[in-house]
Symmetry: C2
Subunit: 250 residues, 2 copies
Amino acid sequence: MTLKVYADRMSQPSRAVIIFCKINGIEFEEVKIDISRRQHRTPEFEEINPMKKVPAIVDGRFKLFESHAIMIYLAYVFPGVADHWYPADLSKRAKIHSVLDWHHSNLRHGAATYVLNSTLGPALGRPLNPKAAAEGEKILSESLAKIESVWLKGNGRFLLGSLQPSIADLSLVCEIMQLEVVNEKDRDRILGPHKKVLKWINDTKNATRPHFDEVHSVLFKVKEKLKRLQSGGAKDETQSTLKSALHSKM
Amino acid sequence: MTLKVYADRMSQPSRAVIIFCKINGIEFEEVKIDISRRQHRTPEFEEINPMKKVPAIVDGRFKLFESHAIMIYLAYVFPGVADHWYPADLSKRAKIHSVLDWHHSNLRHGAATYVLNSTLGPALGRPLNPKAAAEGEKILSESLAKIESVWLKGNGRFLLGSLQPSIADLSLVCEIMQLEVVNEKDRDRILGPHKKVLKWINDTKNATRPHFDEVHSVLFKVKEKLKRLQSGGAKDETQSTLKSALHSKM
């Protein structure tokens, strides 16, 4: 039975899991769960993931959610996954767990809070919230600084001084990519000061091409559509503007 | 060279790691890092953990932080750790990763936000914030409901229907124990409705005795001291009241 991946490519952890499967030649069926249409809240999807979040997988009779846990599981059970994604070496593996744990309450918390409250909220039925956006940006900027000074310390092109990417690189870069939908000036202000981060994003893109670009294409489409809608008179990112951008994304 | 565990027993993930070592007979030296005295922000500790958080470990020349990553590492490298703490079975292991990942943005996020903003903040140099406390409580209560309906579904005494505890039980229960320092009426209001959670906390305590009680004794001391200070005229949990309770905790 083929592995099923329940995902919305507008969700950053969904993209990480899809890219991981594609680059490792894991056969899977992608089941689209459109968050902007609230498909993650249907009783059918609740049977797959009672937490009502994407991504989730079904492998035979085994169900699993949480993107880090999913990638670790896939690295274990699919023999084609190269060691660098989730190394057998215990100390390397432990450090990857450490990055991934840190990710939850730092980069992910900051970036998701910022993007939701500065840009995407209205499309998901929540008002924009400048105060929450500012708090998110603070955590995001501190996290980017820590990525540079701690995780990207040394000469390796990837996190933890590695020469090849791991599931941690993929998770964290997919998170930062979500900033593509944000106003360009704001994105440059936030990412601009972090040259090592920018280089690392590029290195991760290059190491996972062509899948990285293909899986992110929906994000770029939404970005372009938002730009057009805004320059065409809809100066504010209103609920209907965003919803129309999201609903027509595929 | 003995394993060093840098910890503050007032920190819930620190307690999880200490109890894990003790119950598994792992020899270690506990190095106290007193958060209320800002010892986690010294240059010496920054050498151990550049993120300035406890717990952290040093095993020979290997340094690691993030409590989940630490317990997984210890389960790998210390042969005395019983399988149920971090099962070799891939699907069981994957589900434990899923619980631990979920923990970060749900139970831990909610409980830590609530306790900090309702009670402990002033002792750590932050004012109380009733609005943030209310937001934390909402996430905490939703998380407790999910623990009951999802993770404690079935007949097992522990998470995921297990008959013996895993590192996920230990992490989550230590988090909930932090509510001991909160006003009794508030704690009962929050925990009271979740009978299955209360039973599971008790089962986890019983499975890890006497270490669970011993490692949590500092929390109970702070709780008693706070009660006495409050009933003795200091009606508000002022900065000095809390600081004195924390500083004299050992």
